[in-house]
Symmetry: C3
Subunit: 347 residues, 3 copies
């Protein structure tokens, strides 16, 4: 990377204290930042992390601007983390410029597919009949798009992603390597001959600005659609079963699983390795903590924790009391003996 401090201040929509012509050559956390690195600091007290070192440039919170003098250029902004994110995005963007518009001669594209002129279809991609790829979307390599599936504009699909037939992906979505959209839901009818597969003829509908982690799987609906709302961010190795519907802006962390037909509200956080049963409803703004199991309806704004999810405070109290069980038990043995002998004497 090579950006001037002036350009960075513009990206950040910040106010610069320093020479706009100085060039920055890297980014780093405050504790590692060197002479030509940019870093950001959220709280003024964290300035100590710089240890008085001369660094390239620091993004600071404008509410901490109290006339202090620094031995490095400063960009004052409203939200340092967001401002830094806009610089990282700019650096990252260079990477994508390598993916020129066009279809690789090593790709397989059905003559009935519609590929936007600005889209990039990399080697070993398969685009089925009636599939559509929107403007500026990039399919890196080995991506499979089944018949009739539609990928919106400005999407980025990394290597070895599979989107099976009849699935709809919105705009500005990122699908990480190896994720699978539209695999069959897990449904069987019981018969004397064993489990009879129920064909899953629905699809998956994914909103705008959704990110889906590496090797995550989202199953197609039996009928209708499994739906992921706008702005949801899904981590790696997550399982989302058929007919699940999530609201907007949910965060679903690595290795979590959501069983069939459950409905997740808006702004819900489901942390790592949590498991949600089938046909459950989780209200808006709830937090399901890591490794928590959820078997019933969850009210909006709940914070659940524990093997069988309980309100967080209740669970933490129980967990603390478990440490006292050996003490309880010693008391119990003694007290029970006494109670029994008292009863005998009384009887």
């Amino acid at each position: 990377m090579r950006l001037s401090i002036g350009e960075i201040a513009l990206l950040c929509k910040g106010e610069l204290d320093g020479d706009s012509q100085i060039f920055i050559e890297g980014v780093n956390p405050p504790s590692l930042a060197g002479q030509s690195d940019l870093c950001y600091i959220e709280k003024t007290e964290d300035l100590a992390l710089l240890g008085g070192r001369k660094v390239g440039c620091v993004i600071l919170n404008e509410k901490d601007r109290k006339g202090d003098k620094f031995n490095f250029p400063v960009i004052w902004v409203k939200n340092p983390k967001l401002a830094f994110a806009s610089v990282l995005r700019e650096i990252d963007r260079e990477k994508l410029s390598a993916f020129n518009p066009g279809i690789s001669p090593h790709a397989f594209v059905s003559p009935k597919a519609k590929i936007a002129a600005s889209a990039h279809i990399g080697p070993f991609c398969f685009i089925g009949e009636d599939a559509e790829i929107g403007e500026n979307s990039i399919l890196v390599s080995g991506v499979y798009i089944g018949n009739g599936s539609k990928i919106g504009n400005n999407c980025l699909l990394y290597s070895n992603v599979s989107v099976r037939e009849g699935c709809l992906i919105g705009n500005f979505c990122i699908l990480h390597c190896g994720c699978v959209i539209g695999s069959d839901g897990y449904g069987y009818a019981q018969s004397e001959k064993g489990h009879i597969k129920i064909a899953q003829i629905g699809g998956v509908k994914i909103g705008d600005n959704v990110e889906i982690g590496a090797n995550t799987c989202i199953d197609r609906a039996t009928m209708g659609f499994t739906e992921i709302g706008d702005g949801c961010k899904i981590d790696n190795l997550v399982h989302i079963a058929h007919n699940v519907k999530t609201g907007r802006n949910c965060l679903i962390i690595a290795q979590a699983g959501i069983a069939g037909s459950s409905k997740i509200g808006n702004n819900v956080i489901i942390a790592g390795q949590a498991g949600i049963s089938d046909h459950v409803e989780i209200g808006d703004n709830s937090i399901i903590m890591a490794k928590t199991g959820v078997m019933g309806k969850v009210k909006p704004g709940s914070i659940l924790f524990g093997y069988l999810g309980r309100p967080r405070g209740e669970y933490m109290r129980i967990e603390a009391l478990l440490s006292k069980l050996p003490e309880f038990f010693n008391f119990y043995k003694k007290a029970k003996k006494k109670l029994d002998s008292d009863e005998k004497n009384a009887g």
Copy 2:
């Protein structure tokens, strides 16, 4: 889709009350079914889900046939869910007709492989030496079949599946996107130089009518075979370690894991995120509930639940009593004080 009610009644082996020439254009659950949709109802009381709407056609249980008049055509059958499944299967079948027999010019097929004339080998598939693909089997795209592996008849392997060398897949199997059959078992010998890999020279043997979920991994045996019995249905992101053997018709749900050399009986259900230790035996017809850990032998017909799997009833009782721990603790503090003072007085 476009099927007449008469054709549907034939598919269902049911008896039709209505005009066989009416055409159905979609399928839906009862609550969503419209004027030209087919739906099914398992229990008569669920008829209310239709809310008196005019729908295309309803599959009902023949034991509920009591002379009622309906404002829609009815197909009477023994098992509505199974009957509906047969209609879904018919609709789904159209999808497969797109996969014509033949080998894509974009595939790589060893001259020493044997491919049945009716098989479909899609673009970017790799078929190794001495590998065999049976009649009517479909390899969609980007499927890897290692040297000497054999895929039976009427199998369906979706995009980016990997079947490594020396593995045997039966007939009528479905392997979903990204699943991996025959990765090395996890085995090391300890030495002063660190962990020394024990080469895994066995394979994986999968029976007939087995379905394997997206991104699920089944490791090859150290020696001999890891075995999955006929009719097993395995969901997404499941891990099955080396030398595991499962019986027939097991259901293994998403994100469950089975460690090395464990033996699973027939008709066992292992629910989502459950974990089975190595060298464990699970008896026929057992149910291991979601998130349950199993560390020892399980008798046939058991239902286990809990972090360290216990009989379900016992576990639910413990879980309920955990809520009382704070109450216990208050009593304990009081009673202990009294017991101690009584003892002092007595002493």
Copy 3:
């Protein structure tokens, strides 16, 4: 396979009691070994597993050599498991000889990539700009190597592996089917418009002799590197988040997850389905047992178990006492009544 007992004794660095010209045609565990099979026995008492059968050859521990006569050839060694591993490795090696040096005409290789002359690049592999593949390394099929990534010497990358841009893999590494190295770390800044992606511009650095399981995901760092130390062995479906650092020779078993920025020491074992929170430190030689959750710092040499990891002994005691909760509860109801009535009488 076809090796003479003499060749096997050489491979094992062992001493042979028997005719070096006899040929061995298979390997098996002692209970299954036949007339021309090799097997190994760790403890002399396990000789009973042979049941007096005539087997091809047995590897025994030289410290058990007490002049007994056996009806089969014996190779005496210091460490039978390690010796057997060296024979398995020899058998397994044949498999790799099929991968000749050279680049498949079905691969896509950037003209700016550097491929060692002895490397094998299979069909449908993608090698980006400035990527490097070392001597004797094998990329089986459908492997994606992003721009600027470097694969060391003697590595083996199975089908459908993805290594994204800017990642460094050491020597003698094995990457199993479908694993993903360098997917974006999961990082967002909150804004009024929802979650804003923080571009992840770091990479992943993997040491020598590392094995990474099928469909495992290791995310790239936000800045700097996610690091996996020399000799680590990672099983299937593991999630390792951005900026995690592991020491040397760790074992990380299937479906375990490590959240962002956590630091794992040397020789740590993290068992199946365990979950490590973010920004946690785990000391050298610790063992995190299966399904255990870790939320705080772990001292070197700890053994943790339980939903919220506790020292193993403590956890096992609590788990045992949970079985007594119903008994506690009966006592409590009785004793509380008595305490209450005593208090009333006293008051």
